[in-house]
Subunit: 181 residues, 2 copies
Amino acid sequence: MNYMRTLKYAILGLLNREPLTGYDIAREFKKDLGEFWTATHSQIYPELKKLLAEGLIVFEVQISGEVLEKKLYSITGQGQKEFLTWLKKDEPMEPTPKDIFRLRMYFSNYMDSATRLQLLEHQLQQHKDRLSHLQTNMLRYDSVPPLESDTFGDYLVLDGAIIREKATIQWLENFIAYCRK
Amino acid sequence: MNYMRTLKYAILGLLNREPLTGYDIAREFKKDLGEFWTATHSQIYPELKKLLAEGLIVFEVQISGEVLEKKLYSITGQGQKEFLTWLKKDEPMEPTPKDIFRLRMYFSNYMDSATRLQLLEHQLQQHKDRLSHLQTNMLRYDSVPPLESDTFGDYLVLDGAIIREKATIQWLENFIAYCRK
DNA sequence: AGTGCCATGTAAGAAGTTACATGATTGA
DNA sequence: TCAATCATGTAACTTCTTACATGGCACT
C-alpha cells in the first residue's frame, strides 16, 4: 500500500521554509500555492498531529495578546530528510485531473443551444476574471526571481496558472465560435 | 449537505446515450472521456447498485457464450430527468485541480540544478508523448462533428486535452530554458 | 495449455468536504 | 460594540484508491 501522503509533504515543504502555525499553513493554501494544491484547516490540524507523532515536526506555544495560545510548528532534521527525499522523486505523470464543466460539455449535445451558450459564456467570464486576477498578482515581479529563492516557486506557479487559464479560455472561445457558426 | 455525486451523473450521461454494462462504463472512462473524468470498476459497480435502488436505471441479464452473465443497464425516465436537470445546471467554477508535479516545482529551489532539470525533462517527455497520442486520436476527425451528435463530445474533450497539453509543454519549456540560461 | 481480455463484485483505508464547536484579538 | 480575522480543534460523510476475490471467453 503506497499512498501519496501529498498533504504531508506540502506541509513539510512549507515548514522547511520557515516556522508556521496551522492557521498560517491554511493561509498559504489560499495564496499562490493554492493554484495547484489546497487543504483547509480540517485536514491540516489532524495532519499536523500525525507529523508530530512521527517526529517530523515540533512546536512551541506562543501567546498572542493576553491569553490566546498558538502553536508555532518547525520542521525537524528527520522531517527535512523525508521532505528532500520526496522532493527529488521522479514519479510518473499523474492521471488527468477531473473537470466537471468539461464532463458536462461532453454531454452537451443533449442541451438546447441557448443553455449551452449561456453556460459557456458564464464559464468564459469566470476564467477571464481569474486570469486578470492572476495577471495582477504577476505585476509584483518586474523580473524572474532567482532560482534559489523561495519566491521563485511563487512566480512559477503563477506563471503556470496564467498559461493554464489562457489555454482554457482559448478552448472555450473556439467552442463558442463553433456554436454560433 | 450538498455533495456533487458527479460519478452518478457521468454514468447516467453514458447510459442516456445507450445501454451499457458496468465493464463497458469502465472502458469509456479509459477512452476520450477519461481525459476529464475517470473511475474504476470498484467505484462503478457500487454506484450502479445505488442508482438501481434510486430507480434511475434498470438492467437486463445477457448471456455471453455458454454461461457468463452480464448486466446490461439502461436509464429510466426518472434517470433521464435527473440527468438533464444536472446537465443544465450553471455551477460556479471549480477550485483549481491539484497537481503534484507543480507542487514539487513550487519547492524546487531546494533541489540541486541537475535533479531539477532531470525531473523537468522527464515530465516534458511524458507530456509530449501524451500530446502525440492525443493528436493521433484526433486524426479520426476530418471535420468537426455536428453539435447534435454523440461524437461531438468526444471531439470536444480531445480538443480540450490537446490545448491543455500544449499549454503544459509551453510552461515546462519556458522553465527549462530559464534553468539552462 | 496459456495469455489477455471480459465480467462482477467486496473490503479496507486514505483523502477530501461540510458542518459542528469554541473562543480571542484587532480595528473601525 | 460589532465585524472581520485570528486560532484550534472534532464529527460525519463522501469520494477515491488499492488490494482482495472469483470465474468465463476467445484466440493462439
